[in-house]
């Protein structure tokens, strides 16, 4: 038993140790300030923050409706919410391409009527990231809302507070920890997105090439830079774990 546990620990730790041991510490700042990397950093920030905002805005009503059993077919919807979590990202990207691509029914109308093209654009990369990250927000927030129950909502209603005011001033503050945890997990997933983005939005420098894609590109030509970016992403992930260590367990 202990041997197997030790092996599992080693399996989890070895890649990280290998990465840190190979990291070009003396040149890491120079490598990370390379224009291509800075471009990818900018794209990553724009895409991950926008995707998180989109997931929050469209996820909150759904999480609320699911937690309050306000939707018919909730079980089906709840399963649908989990699909992006278990779907291989490349399949998600392919599905998005055929749903929103220029030749798809929706994509062709967007193109025709509004001149909007999604594939190979920053907006497309944002949609791909939002799609795969949305379940993290919805499941976290729905669980917290369900656990909170309706007691405080009812109390607020008897205090002259309408439903939206109550949501904003009572319900969300009461689940603040889980709400922040949901947003952080969503952002982390969006930041790390690779497969769906590459498939749906491609790897266009300065537009859709995020840090993970830049890492993959750099591995071919400049492995040291790839390692430097990986260390940066690893540092962000660890910082997030530290920030969330209370919130996730408290949930």
């Amino acid at each position: 038993m202990l041997g197997a546990a030790a092996f599992a620990t080693a399996l989890l730790a070895a890649p990280l140790v290998g990465l840190l041991q190979r990291a070009p510490w003396t040149s890491i700042v120079r490598r990370l300030s390379d224009p291509a990397v800075l471009d990818a950093l900018r794209v990553s920030l724009v895409v991950s923050v926008s995707a998180t905002a989109v997931a929050t805005v469209i996820g909150l009503p759904l999480a609320w409706a699911l937690a309050r059993d306000a939707l018919p077919g909730a079980r089906l919807i709840r399963s649908a919410v989990l699909v992006p979590m278990v779907l291989p990202p490349v399949v998600a990207g392919t599905a998005l391409l055929y749903a929103l691509g220029r030749k798809s029914p929706i994509g062709s109308r967007l193109d025709h009527w509004f001149g909007i093209t999604l594939p190979f654009t920053t907006t497309g990369a944002t949609i791909a990231a939002a799609f795969v990250a949305l379940p993290f927000f919805i499941t976290t927030v729905e669980a917290a809302l369900r656990q909170l129950g309706t007691n405080l909502d009812e109390a607020a209603a008897t205090c002259r507070s309408g439903p939206l005011t109550t949501l904003w001033l009572v319900t969300l503050p009461a689940i603040r920890s889980a709400f922040i945890a949901g947003i952080t997990l969503t952002w982390a997933r969006a930041l790390g997105e690779f497969g769906a983005t590459l498939t749906f939005a491609g790897s266009v420098g300065g537009r859709t090439r995020t840090l993970p894609l830049q890492t993959f590109v750099a591995l071919e030509s400049d492995p040291e830079t790839a390692i430097a970016i990986s260390v940066l992403l690893l540092a962000i992930s660890i910082a997030m774990l530290v920030a969330l260590r209370n919130r996730i367990t408290l949930r």
Binding site: E154, T158, C159, R160, P173
Partner: protein, 216 residues
Amino acid sequence: MSIVIHGHLRRGTLAVDLDLEIPTGLTTLTGPNGVGKTSLLRLIAGLDALDHGTLSINGSTVDDPAARRFVPAHQRPIAMTFQELRLFPHLTSLDNVAFPLRRTGHSRTDARSQARALLERVGAGDISDHHPERLSGGQAQRVALARSLAAQPDVLLLDEPLAAVDAESRDDLRTLLTQPDLAPTVLWVSHDPNDSHLTGSRIVASHDGIGHTQHS
């Protein structure tokens, strides 16, 4: 009559026939557990709806399923203290009490000064900066009462307002709750037969339903 209810409420295994008129002033509603006393309060508050029948408050129909009319809780002239109090955990006592005032259009400063006065009135002026988790049962009940008064209700609904209160402050709070100027109509629910000896009207709930107001 302040509140007129004729109808039927079914919630889970509970089925209550309602046929009563509640006058202005203080009315106590007593009866054993499980006969629908809290359900009646929730119905008047607008937290539950009648299955059929009608409910009117001060002459205005607020629940009439046949006419597809249902006024939601936040638009009814009511306030309610819950048995489990339900103070907002992220707000201080003062901000809990200021909450209904802010919702009815008072400025932040105005709401806070009125809230402070209400806390003084219920004997909780010294705990205005405390969050609910730090309050004793009696203190929390006082804050909950102040919050309900801040909604300036025509009808004040009190669900077992002495249940969470320690014995020594119970008489004190009972005096406070029987002051005539809390609200035009006060409906006090209690399973404690002692509370039915309060002045005012009286309703006794039983498994046969809730009805017949007795005037004392």
